[in-house]
Symmetry: C2
Subunit: 319 residues, 2 copies
Amino acid sequence: MGKNNISIGVDVGGTYTKIAILGKNQKILAKKQVPTQSSLGPRDFVSRISSAVIEMEKLLKAHADGFGLALAGAVDPASGKILFAPNLKGWPNFDFKKAFSKKMGARKFVVENDANAAVWGCYVLDFKKKGENFLGLTLGTGVGGGIVCYGKLYRGSAGSAGEIGHMRVAVGGELCHCGSRGCLEAYAGGYGIIKTARRMLSESPDKGRILSSLCADPNALEPRHLSEAAQMGDVLSQEVWAVTARYLAAGIASLVMIFNPDGISLLGGVSAAGRHLMDPLKKELSQEPFKLPFLRAKIRMTENSDFGCIGAALLALEG
Amino acid sequence: MGKNNISIGVDVGGTYTKIAILGKNQKILAKKQVPTQSSLGPRDFVSRISSAVIEMEKLLKAHADGFGLALAGAVDPASGKILFAPNLKGWPNFDFKKAFSKKMGARKFVVENDANAAVWGCYVLDFKKKGENFLGLTLGTGVGGGIVCYGKLYRGSAGSAGEIGHMRVAVGGELCHCGSRGCLEAYAGGYGIIKTARRMLSESPDKGRILSSLCADPNALEPRHLSEAAQMGDVLSQEVWAVTARYLAAGIASLVMIFNPDGISLLGGVSAAGRHLMDPLKKELSQEPFKLPFLRAKIRMTENSDFGCIGAALLALEG
């Protein structure tokens, strides 16, 4: 742990990057959002983030010991370099540790996959470390994940562990953005859910009248429309969430059988669906023949868009 | 570790129980097989195994420090009691540690799931601990599994982790012996493979002429017939292995994406299929879009029916 337990967490999103300074008891002391502008390259990014951090520290009259950077991609835990990041062209192999050190002085430094960071944040803040083994699924456009084993973030042998969204729930099934077929993400990721909705809408448009009144163009549909319409009693939207729950239940059942965890949390925007997703999900899981591991694994939905920053900041101090 | 590094491993099978005494460098010093007769109850079993062990130790003029018992079921790592064992009626909640101690004196004692024990034996002996993260699948009538994380056997929060055979590869698919649908075991377990073979035989009996000459009655088919026939050029049998490989590849792809392990071994009788299973399996996996974790995870087939005993004996010394 750092001398003063103050740490910076930076969560790189497609459009915006969030910066948070975390103090004692995981309290956020300051928060800022800046445009990511990844196309300007990693050197420019480091420069802008460093300036923002130094300014935030000045205002707080504090100096953070840790610095955690979270982004969408595969990271090498040993070097801290990005190995693979489809949305951050030119960023892989850049030495962030060195570049940030030059701008802000040496800190405890870590680069982490953004889903891993968010799940670690959720494990510490929301689950409060009630158990050593914990899983988190980030449900957004894609489906990400993070694994905590023996109380530690599990990164795997080359730093790419936790890609729960790419577990196969349907051999030869729907095409996933990764290029493979039948991945959980192809059904429970935002684009998979919308695909299901469009198919069901074209089959029985009458059932989705409320949905169509919220969003007339099926090509403009988003998961939030389905959450809202379900809440308003739209039968089709409720059925879309039930279908989504069926695939999600298959994925979660697999994870419970494999990991026998203490808890599983669902994070991310899809949680706006609330009980329309959770009720059918819990019903599916209650029918599992092996009772023991399912009783153990508490499944909950949670939403805190700061988990990524918080987790990155905490992981930096874990060293 | 034990004072003398000598340890006993007992692997309880449906019909026979294997006993092995393991010495330095994981060398088997003595081996014995006795009928399991589980219906006589755990007390009778403990009595017979203890007598056999004491006799083996006398012949060896050695005293083992460790004693590991491996069986099919869910085990509570803390108490060493069986929680759930469908094939061992009356065995759950029996205090094996106490009963064995009474008969043979106190030893470092462990009760472990048999697939976990076999995978641990394989990790130490065959994989030679080349990496911290390792998975094993036991392919028999059912499909079991074991997980090594950070160089330790991962048991989960209630001792039931590693049930890889019950991960879902096909939502709403074939009925599994567990009562659920679409589990990997329902396709890659012995009974699942036979189901595939029977269906394909009824569809195109001509393709399976060699197979039918080896086993005329489809109800008497066993995976070994399919291995032998495939070897002899039977087209249908080769196709059955290819279909099996497709489901197995989906399960393995999920595991690689989740765990990013250093290696995955396939253990058990199905390995007799050899290249007829491995070639299509490797071909499927070579098409995975994420190259990194798949390059890392060496996938191999191995067969050593003593891995269960060896793993149990080694785990006892691990304490």
